[in-house]
Symmetry: C2
């Protein structure tokens, strides 16, 4: 049988009140001698207050729910790492939920998490939600690319600026036929990245070609399929991929079609995954700080849990354009 506070009280010859107070650092009033006796009994019996009994009173579950679209996604796993790194320092633990990009799953998970009285939730989601109804009763942070409008707790990335910079770079390098891999299917509408692409072409007086755009899932395979369709159809000399994973897929598509990167096709990603600098050739990409995003989300959530009256700050993360070997200037090429 598990050892209880009663046992400790008996062993040290005091009341449960005394044990409880001492254990919760409210025991100033007790004599040193008593404290010592109690602590000794606690140590020796490896006593730990029952988590459930304690929580029934304190309501401090020290648990945070985290929902991500895909744990195996290299971007999100890095975000998780950031969240974990912060929360573990605070003795919090994470209930991890894999939503498989499904809005319905997300709702289920939120319900379950709230049932378990989590202290807060971090929701990484591509979906717009009726947050009022589902999450209202708990502190939360959204990692959602700004899809849901709020006044506080917005964690944003300069997607537009980052994307714009990459397109401008290609144009400056002489590219005129620039394609884009995007995702419009409800999820991950990379609207900002796409808008930046359109605007940048316009600012440079280049014509926008609808057929230079291709749509697909934001995965390696999705990128592969989309790039294949796009590259078979057009003679673009450069391609902005929705993210690094799609860029990896693009490498394969190009290879199969006999296109050399960067000689025949310049490729740019978005994210800067660890793997990206190891690709062959190393991927030129727009870096966003995944770990830091997670870490910040956790920090803000923690603050919000402990000072609910305080507003959660907004924060916009900078991107960094990193030129590596997958892009080149266009010269003899048409």
């Amino acid at each position: 049988m598990k050892i209880t506070i009663k046992d400790i009280a008996e062993i040290s010859g005091v009341s449960t009140t005394t044990v409880s107070q001492i254990l919760n650092n409210k025991g100033q009033r007790f004599s040193e001698e008593t404290k010592r006796r109690v602590m000794k009994a606690v140590e020796e019996n490896d006593y730990n207050p029952d988590y459930f009994a304690k929580n029934m009173i304190n309501r401090e579950s020290k648990t945070v729910g985290m929902i991500v679209p895909d744990v195996t996604d290299l971007f999100f796993s890095k975000v998780i790492e950031g969240v974990e790194a912060y929360l573990t320092k605070k003795d919090y633990m994470i209930l991890l939920c894999n939503s498989n990009h499904s809005n319905e799953m997300e709702k289920n998970y939120i319900k379950q998490l709230l049932n378990r009285s989590v202290a807060g939730v971090i929701l990484a989601s591509p979906n717009a939600m009726e947050l009022e109804t589902s999450l209202k009763s708990s502190p939360y942070i959204l990692i959602d690319r700004g899809i849901n409008t709020r006044v506080e707790g917005n964690l944003l990335v300069k997607e537009y600026e980052g994307s714009y910079e990459s397109v401008q770079y290609l144009i400056d390098a002489g590219h005129k036929k620039i394609g884009m891999l995007t995702n419009e299917s409800g999820y991950y509408e990379m609207t900002d990245r796409y808008r930046a692409y359109v605007q940048c072409l316009k600012d440079n007086k280049l014509i926008y070609h609808g057929e230079y755009i291709e749509d697909g899932p934001v995965t390696i395979e999705g990128g592969y399929e989309a790039a294949k369709r796009l590259l078979e159809r057009t003679d673009i000399t450069a391609l902005c991929c929705g993210n690094d994973q799609m860029a990896i897929g693009t490498y394969r598509a190009a290879y199969e079609l006999g296109l050399k990167i960067p000689e025949d096709l310049s490729v740019i990603g978005f994210d800067d995954l660890e793997i990206s600098s190891y690709l062959n050739p190393p991927l030129t990409t727009v870096a966003q700080p995944a770990f830091e995003i997670g870490y910040t989300a956790a920090t803000y959530l923690f603050q919000s849990i402990n000072s609910p009256e305080q507003k959660i700050p907004n924060r916009t993360f900078e991107t960094e354009f990193i030129v590596r070997g997958s892009t080149t200037t266009v010269d003899k090429k048409k």
Copy 2:
């Protein structure tokens, strides 16, 4: 204020006993009319029994702890996905812990998890542990490559056979100077893979060269560094990498040293990550079923939780040798 069973009882004009019994499907004895009234009150008020109060009695936390060395590792994130996929069907949730390969962190996490009365734990670890003391009080499954000897619940992979097959393949292709990237530094001693390498050379009457072996962390960067050292030092024509991530690092090292894969160097990995078939060239590797391993671990753990008296089965997973573009026969080469 949160709504309690008392409120529901009051609203439907019965006792809390009645509400509790009906909600827990022990309400056969109550009249249909009563049941209906209670259920209606429950629905209308969106009542959910308090998680902590309920658990204080039932001790069914429906929560499993999962500890992995690195959430961003592509192999482990796939294992997590498998675990999650099974447990979510059973209405269980996962407390995820990232141990950063540290044995000390693992122990801390185990303690914390047990404090929270998890129903069980899945520990993916490269470390040998004094399991008796730390985990004894809870059902658990180890994903540890068989480092800790147990009579039941061993989830093993045919590492030896898989590795042997890959080395034999290289030898059959004419390679004589075959290197290996391994990890001996306490973690992930890939002993089986290494042993298979040694034995296979021997069986084929090839001399074992100590300088053909290099050691490093099981990451992309680790593989890069190790491969660089090894390739600068020797003139091997083929390299067995400890895992796919190390193989990815090897690609970069080879590239920087001006070695073409597979013309100058055949490369073989271990894992078959999703990304591996998209590398340039696609990676020849020994596939192991990461998702299935996780899924099976969760299945066994669940069984063990619900039938503690039953023995947990052992299971050995097959590997599959997948030939892709990173290997070739050695011909004109010396």
